[in-house]
Amino acid sequence: MNKTFWESKWAKPISAFISIFGFLLIWHIGVNSSSLGELMPGPIDVLSRFVGSFSVNIGQYTILGHALWSLSRVAIAYSVASFAGVICGLAMGRYPKFEAAFRPYFEIIRPIPPIAWIPMAILWFGLGELTKYFLIFLAAFSNVTLNAYTGAISVDPELIGAARMLGASDNQIFRTITIPASVPHIFAGMQISLSSSWATVVAAEMVRSSEGIGWMIVSGMEINNMQQILAGIVAIGLIGYGLATFMRFLERKLLVWNERGA
């Protein structure tokens, strides 16, 4: 491997393959050589189960169906949360009175993890989809609001001065300066919220569901089927990674004007 290998565009994918293969190897050795074997399936069984589940139904759907269910729950709740978060965050930035009124509730809700809301969510919204949307909404809402707020109050005063000198009114300044200037912050918030929403889908699907990746893991726990659980975990990891990469790609495309420094 000459020096240039590390710089060549092949370095990343190859090393990724090696490192994942290495991880699976360690897992394989760990399972086969130790007493762990009876309880913990090895990578080969799990991956074959994972691949198999693309054709064979687990419960009512294949793993694709489950993934679609989980994704649709996340997509709906996430987009509502992002929308509400941006509005709330910017409003908090724009109107100090609103911020003062809204902040106490925001500070109370934020530290409480979505899982802790499950019992009350069930009492309020029943066992259906609404409870799941509510939990995922909670996971996404605080981050987006926080970032929109930070974006709105940390606009470079010189830009506002320049706009004011050009005759812009307060409202115009908010619309044409504060909002665009906070778009990078908002986008960073949306990226973080997407990963926290995706992580919450498992907890959300613990609330009485019969489909979804989270259900796959939860029902695996109930019937002690470790392969199904691990296949679910692999799916969550892969999709989570895919979502994060997609958001980064979106950012490069959309925020072309923003030189996102380190």
């Binding site: 003062a100 009124a101 902040r103 509730y105 530290p111 993890p113 981050n143 707020y149």
Partner: protein, 271 residues
């Protein structure tokens, strides 16, 4: 590739005189809560207990062990014990890994893919695996917390080290300092603020994962207390548990914020 750092600190606007408005809105909120539950009784207390009942339960829970077998402080103690266990292990492994991944690109090429794949997996999904690996005792719950801490710390350390300005590195190298020396005397000090944020974010992550960990097998802990009251028609205890989690979470964050200020004193330079 730039890591998206979870901005946890809330930049406060200058201490505006709006505290009164916040208080008023809070009072109105609690009044409305009271009105629709105990006041007019429109919402049955089984669905949403009133503020008076909740605060009664909250204070009585400090010395009464009904219905879940331990007082609020015992639960908090048990939860904090697991959180700190997971936190310490997570920090001990996360910081070095973050540094090495950021400082040695070759290692990063290998460690990063596995890390990125494990990162989105929530603590709760690991519970069954942890049961098998570490049984159902303190250690397995600690490990679930460890995972969330480990991820948060590694990201922040990684980003912190990467923020080291190349000009600083060159200066150190021109003085003939070795790579390791530069790492310790240039990169790590630069990364310190990011590291401190990481410590605070990780503690927040640890505290939120504790509920998931306690869904595992537990005899005590706030998560257990909430879990127990679900079947017993005691939503007031559930809300007491949630308030306890919220307050403890904020206090932990506040404490670390103080630590951060003292450690970084003048160094919090605005870039």
């Amino acid at each position: 590739m730039n890591e998206d750092i979870s901005i946890d600190s809330v930049q406060k606007r200058e201490k505006s005189g709006y505290i009164i408005i916040s208080l008023i809105s809070l009072v109105i909120g609690i009044f409305l809560w009271w009105l629709f539950t105990e006041g007019l009784g429109t919402i049955s207390h089984k669905i949403m207990p009133g503020p008076i009942r909740v605060f009664q339960s909250f204070f009585s829970k400090f010395y009464v062990s009904a219905p879940d077998g331990a007082t609020l402080l015992q639960h908090l103690g048990s939860s904090l014990q697991i959180t700190l266990l997971g936190y310490v292990i997570g920090v001990a492994i996360g910081i070095p890994l973050g540094i090495v991944m950021a400082w040695y690109p070759k290692f990063d090429l290998f460690a990063r893919p596995v890390f990125d794949l494990l990162r989105p997996i929530p603590g709760i999904a690991w519970i069954p695996v942890m049961i098998v690996l570490f049984g159902i005792g303190l250690l397995s719950k600690g490990m679930v917390v460890f995972l969330s801490v480990f991820v948060a710390i590694t990201i922040n350390t990684y980003t912190g080290i990467q923020q080291t300005k190349s000009v600083h590195k060159w200066v150190s190298h021109t003085f003939g300092a070795s790579n390791i020396y530069t790492l310790f005397h240039v990169a790590i000090p630069t990364a310190l603020p990011m590291l401190m944020t990481g410590l605070r974010v990780a503690l927040g992550a640890a505290w939120t994962t504790i509920i998931a960990a306690e869904l595992l097998a537990s005899t005590k802990g706030i998560g257990f207390m909430i879990q127990q009251s679900r079947g017993l028609f005691r939503p007031d205890i559930i809300i007491v548990g949630m308030i306890a989690i919220g307050i403890t979470g904020s206090v932990l964050g506040w404490l670390l914020g103080l630590l951060e200020k003292r450690v970084l004193k003048g160094r919090l330079s605005k870039e």
